[in-house]
């Protein structure tokens, strides 16, 4: 009988410290754990005592990948607390921004962090030599997404123009038209991306779970809507605590979440399962080409859905930009009346649904805050997937088992401890 020891201390290409621990003795699984080690983030401490105008800028620093999502979610929560109803123009511009962030993040994850697994490379570096055209294409798409965010958010990351009840600076018509042209010209890159990911072999594995995302009657929801579950229907975002049910487990320091079942999944695959009918025409074709059909219960396909959403992001951005150009932009009165209150914001960011919840006093000072990030909502589901996957691959060599488990974790695109990139230099 087989004995296996897999102990991946710090899964590579995953932010923060995530460990995989597997012990199999004489064919019997004794241990199979997804351990998450991170310091508590104390979101509340960052924003308590700050004014309503500061909070979104602080929370945008939580993460470099989801800085736009945190900004928009934070603004939503603040506006809900203060009773501010934003204009259609503001909502339109924010919906373009969230598409830009989805494109930025999905290109990065699918090309740089997930694709190396499928071609047996340890990282993107060997691909620079073997597939330079692919790496250059990925960077070109990333730059397009960055510039889209720059036009509508004032910076490529940590946006500066979105503020409570509007924007401090509106984009110029010329730069909007320029970026629209570049988005339209991106079709060959999107097609090449699709061809690449069609050729990659995604592991066959299925485990049905609960899928939670935003849902909107109007569109494939990223910016706003209600919370939707494949098991439980829909509920308003203000009810998020009753659906996330955060709890602690002994082997991890991060909080876990569950709703109807032992675990649920958020992210691209959850959005696809809930909202696939609202994808753009090109994205629907891309999904079909990648063999995606809802409901899809294979978590490895999360990366494929990211590619589909990249196509959607480009097509949807063009559609929304045309709406902007058609209606024109005008300076708006951003003044608000301060009042005490509590508000919840929810945005579906690249890794899944994100919640911010603030309470302000009558002077617009934040007194209480809560933030639930997508990755923490996925931890329990990663654990359950591992428990289901391991028995199915026990006959494979140990290195293959290790790789499959690592690939599973990476498919979720987790962000465990946003985001320290400290250099460690030993001078001799």
């Amino acid at each position: 009988m087989k004995t296996i020891n897999v102990n991946v201390d710090h899964v590579t290409r995953v932010e923060g410290h995530g460990n995989i621990v597997v012990n199999v003795k004489e064919g019997k699984i004794e241990e199979c754990k997804w351990e998450v080690v991170e310091a508590p983030r104390f979101f509340e401490a960052f924003v308590r005592g700050r004014t309503y105008l500061e909070v979104s800028h602080i929370t945008s620093r939580i993460c470099g990948i989801c800085s736009i999502g945190h900004t928009l979610c934070s603004l939503q929560a603040t506006e809900a607390a203060l009773g501010v109803k934003i204009s259609e123009q503001t909502r339109l511009l924010r919906r373009i921004l969230i598409q830009g962030e989805n494109l930025q993040s999905h290109v990065l994850h699918s090309y740089f962090l997930a694709a190396p697994d499928f071609v047996g490379a340890p990282s993107v570096f060997p691909l620079v030599k073997t597939h330079p055209d692919v790496v250059v294409r990925a960077l070109r798409m990333k730059k397009l997404a960055n510039d889209l965010c720059d036009v509508f958010g004032g910076r490529t990351v940590h946006p500066i123009t979105p503020t409570v009840n509007g924007f401090t600076k509106l984009p110029e018509v010329k730069e909007i038209k320029d970026i629209r042209k570049r988005l339209a010209d991106a079709t060959p890159d999107l097609e090449a991306t699709l061809e690449l990911f069609k050729s990659l072999k995604i592991p066959a594995f299925e485990r049905e779970t609960e899928y939670i995302s935003l849902k909107s009657k109007e569109e494939y929801a990223l910016y706003d809507g209600v919370i939707a579950s494949t098991d439980a229907g829909t509920t308003p975002v203000s009810n998020y605590r009753n659906w996330t049910n955060e709890y602690l487990v002994p082997h991890s320091t991060a909080k876990y979440a569950k709703n109807v079942r032992d675990s649920y999944m958020v992210g691209a695959l959850a959005r696809f399962n809930n909202n696939h009918g609202q994808l753009s025409a090109g994205a629907k074709k891309a999904a079909a080409a990648l063999g995606l059909k809802a409901p899809c219960y294979n978590p490895f396909m999360n990366t494929a859905v990211q590619v589909v959403e990249a196509v959607h992001a480009v097509e949807e951005s063009i559609r929304l930009i045309d709406e902007v150009l058609d209606k024109g932009l005008k300076e708006e009165d951003r003044r608000i009346l301060l009042k005490a209150g509590r508000g919840v914001g929810a945005v579906d960011v690249p890794r899944g649904i994100l919640f911010h919840d603030y309470t302000y006093d009558k002077n617009g000072i934040c007194r209480e805050a809560n933030c639930i990030i997508p990755t923490n909502q996925n931890h329990a589901n990663i654990q359950k997937d591992m428990e289901a996957l391991l028995p199915q691959i026990l006959d494979q060599p140990q290195d293959e088992i290790r790789l499959k488990l690592e690939m599973l974790v990476r498919a979720y695109d987790p962000c465990i401890s946003c985001s320290t990139h400290l250099l460690k230099v030993k001078f001799v």
Binding site: P40, F46, R61, S123, V128, L139, L423, V425, K426, V428
Partner: protein, 176 residues
């Protein structure tokens, strides 16, 4: 190519780090300090924050890039060391490509592999004291900001105040 009044060309200064992890964000604090100063127009200062691979966007047209970041160097808190990527080659530990985004040296490696690395790159590393969730710098690292700022200003002292930079084409070739 970059056509500048000054032979040094466009100089790009980028402070990176996470403002919410105390001393880890010192690079951004330095960038914000430099943005308050009157600098030659050929010098561009960016708050790179957590841009990761997005830092590549700042490189085109630059003849020199100055990066400011917290660095664990086993020195006294607040110590400032100027080094080049070549000088620390093989001396950098920690998991490569560990993040879902990538680190500073990985960005430079990638730029180099693609033939997009600026001709000259200098890093100012600042020894942190405390890296944990919070927005305040330790007193030692707070005190280092003026040291780094002065060092950066010395680094660009040769650039004429009215030097401007006109990028007429991308400076770098793509792919290898």
């Amino acid at each position: 190519m970059c056509q500048c009044n000054d032979p040094a060309g466009k100089i790009v200064i980028i402070g990176v780090g996470n403002l919410l992890l105390k001393d880890e964000g010192v690079g951004v604090h330095v960038a914000q300090e430099l943005q308050k100063k009157s600098l030659p127009s050929a010098v561009k200062v960016h708050d790179g924050g957590l841009a990761g691979i997005g830092l590549l966007d700042f490189f085109p047209g630059a003849s020199k890039v100055l990066l400011i970041d917290a660095a664990e160097m086993n020195l006294e808190a607040g110590a400032v060391v100027r080094f080049t990527p070549e000088e620390v080659a093989g001396k950098v530990s920690g998991p490569r490509f560990s993040a879902h985004d990538i680190g500073l040296l990985e960005v430079l490696d990638l730029a180099g592999a693609l033939g997009q690395c600026p001709p000259e790159v200098v890093i100012f590393g600042i020894q942190p004291k405390e890296i944990s969730w919070g927005t305040e710098l330790s007193p030692e690292v707070q005190a280092s900001i003026s040291k780094v700022t002065e060092a950066v200003l010395r680094e660009i002292a040769h650039v004429a105040p009215n030097a401007s930079c006109k990028v007429v084409a991308k400076t770098n070739t793509q792919g290898a």
